[in-house]
């Protein structure tokens, strides 16, 4: 069964992040340039939160302001969930579904090694299921032919 590590090998380990005192403006600029839906927020090389398009939409609406010059740490979600490289993609999927989150940082012994999205996870699970189906079909055909 595929693990988080397999996912990271596929997609690379690029993680985009901003500093906690970066402005919303700088953060949105980065997200636009990289065409990503969320970035990690760091302070002293530690993850202190995650900031997504949804966080921005919800906060602007609540405050009735564009908030472009606010520091990002006032809008981020304090990230409490993360996964480790040896967890299975099924476990990750279950966590994302139950918590309704689309992105999870990957931590290896307190070191940040990646950020995976629900899209990455779904792609992997689909292709695992395809492989299983193909294997079962081959098994059935192989036995039939040899008989």
């Amino acid at each position: 069964m595929a693990t988080v590590n397999n996912l990271l090998l596929h997609k690379g380990k690029d993680v985009w992040s901003v500093q906690a005192d970066s402005t919303v403006r700088e953060t949105l600029q980065l997200m636009g340039e990289k065409n990503i839906g969320a970035v990690l927020v760091m302070e002293n090389q530690k993850i202190v939160g995650i900031f997504s398009e949804r966080d921005y939409a919800r906060h602007s609406s609540k405050k009735g302001s564009m908030l472009l010059d606010e520091p990002i740490h006032t809008l981020m979600t304090h990230s409490v969930y993360y996964v480790s490289p040896n967890q299975t993609v099924e476990e990750v999927m279950a966590l994302m579904t139950s918590k309704k989150i689309r992105h999870l940082p990957v931590m290896d012994n307190e070191r940040l090694v990646g950020l995976i999205s629900i899209g990455d996870v779904v792609k992997q699970i689909m292709s695992d299921k395809e492989t299983t189906i193909l294997g079962l079909e081959n098994y059935i055909l192989g036995r039939d032919y040899s008989g």
Partner: protein, 144 residues
């Protein structure tokens, strides 16, 4: 193989929409209240666009944009749609290729629902699981 109609039957679909003259502020409030990521923009009974959290995040940096801006200025025009008899696989292909999370469903030009990437994936996964189940059953019955 399941169709869009099956997906719509499986859940009660309330379709939320705004008009092109609604403000960004109105649209964001609706997104927050309904806990959704995108709304359709409808004018005189016709879909003219879609507005998502992403559209807001991407365009917020333009100097002329603020919460009072009409949604019509920020929405994505030329909305792709599906029909009830289309296969769920074809929706998945469209969503993946165009990187959409939502697709309106039109029947005879009339809006009858919206399907999300989550609905589509759940359906396809469950079909794959039942294929695996029947292949395994076949092996148990015929080959072991």
């Amino acid at each position: 193989m399941a169709t869009v109609k099956d997906l719509l039957k499986a859940k009660f679909t309330q379709v939320w929409y705004v008009t092109p003259t609604s403000t960004v502020s109105d649209a964001l409030k609706l997104l927050a209240e309904q806990q959704i990521g995108a709304v359709l923009v409808v004018e005189a009974g016709k879909i003219v666009g879609i507005f998502s959290e992403r559209d807001f995040a991407r365009k917020a940096l333009l100097p002329e944009v603020n919460l009072g801006t009409p949604v019509g200025d920020l929405m994505v025009r030329g909305v792709y749609y599906v029909t009830p008899d289309q296969s769920v696989e074809s929706c998945m292909a469209m969503m993946t290729a165009k990187r959409f999370r939502h697709l309106p469903v039109l029947e005879d030009g009339k809006l009858v629902g919206v399907i999300s990437i989550g609905d589509v994936i759940r359906q396809i996964m469950s079909e794959k699981d039942s294929t695996i189940q029947s292949l395994e059953d076949y092996i148990w019955v015929h080959m072991i």
